[in-house]
Symmetry: C2
Subunit: 192 residues, 2 copies
């Protein structure tokens, strides 16, 4: 049902490229400097366009924020599919990927969290929905509701520490072997 015109080579993207660059810039500002600093002006400057140029793609601040939330939903689709297919098991995959690796999904989640903490209702709702989707995907892999709570909370804790790292010293997140041991402990405590 797709009619992708693949006969042009250079501008391969269906979603306008400039639009994605603006979202990248907005995301980076939210992560590095917080909601307050992520203004239309700063976003335009960071994306290398003018304010007017930005407002052609996103007619308002609300539209820009909605665009970021839309990106989050798309990235979570992919993540849930990868989690289900993970050879390690869904729980191990989920806990391990809950620590920020600067991949697109991690970045978008932190950015949307900043929006949520700024009182943006749609951002809070989007994060709750994402959390619920993850919980649904993990439920078959955990012993009971309490075990699922534990897995979800450890993941939330990891994200909380990631989110606090902004602009400051890195948070106290288990790395390498420490993470492997933590995952083993969580799996032992929650295995279905």
């Amino acid at each position: 049902m797709f009619s992708d015109r693949a006969d042009t080579i250079e501008p391969m993207s269906r979603p306008p490229r400039a639009r994605e660059l603006v979202l990248d810039a907005f995301e980076a500002l939210l992560i590095d400097d917080g909601e307050r600093a992520a203004t239309m002006d700063a976003t335009a400057r960071a994306a290398g366009v003018s304010k007017g140029g930005l407002l052609y793609h996103f007619g308002s601040k609300d539209a820009l924020e909605a665009g970021l939330i839309q990106r989050l939903d798309a990235l979570v689709d992919t993540d849930i599919a990868e989690m289900a297919a993970s050879p390690d098991g869904a729980v191990a995959y989920f806990v391990r990927t809950s620590v920020m690796t600067d991949d697109p999904l991690d970045r978008t989640i932190i950015a949307v969290s900043r929006l949520a903490q700024g009182g943006h209702a749609a951002a809070s709702a989007a994060l709750r929905t994402v959390r619920e989707r993850w919980a649904d995907a993990l439920r078959p892999h955990t012993a009971d509701d309490t075990a699922l709570d534990l897995v979800m909370l450890v993941s939330d804790g990891l994200y909380y520490n990631n989110a606090l790292g902004a602009g400051g010293v890195a948070g106290p997140i288990p790395e390498g072997a420490a993470m492997d041991t933590l995952i083993a402990l969580v799996e032992r405590a929650t295995r279905a």
Copy 2:
């Protein structure tokens, strides 16, 4: 070394009362509406004083934020003492009190988190210090570093969900019996 004049009855407070009311208002705005909305103007209005009146107590936005961080440190002193004295055990006390009950400490932590997410370096540093103090107090009660990580992360996860609740629907936090079961699971997995 203190020369407390206790001979006056009515104004019993050493820290000026208006100052505390301003901090209460600032805190409430941060929690309910986010950092962006917690302006000097809005804080003054919520505290029932004028902008000039607020600026008598806190000469700048930075001073106001520093005042909130100072309040956090004082509240954590009390909490650590209560945790050590808890008949339930430190781990159970810690996990149970990690869910927002609208007590002064919970409120101040969420408020300072908002500041931290807005890029306020001193707020991030203060939260890291608080986390470290808790970890030190809990270390003797956990089997090893991994167990301690697990307890800390569950607590962080609880706070993360509390923090997201702002202005929106309540987060998916275990309550009542579910919380008791979770604490039992965490204790079984981490007991020293």
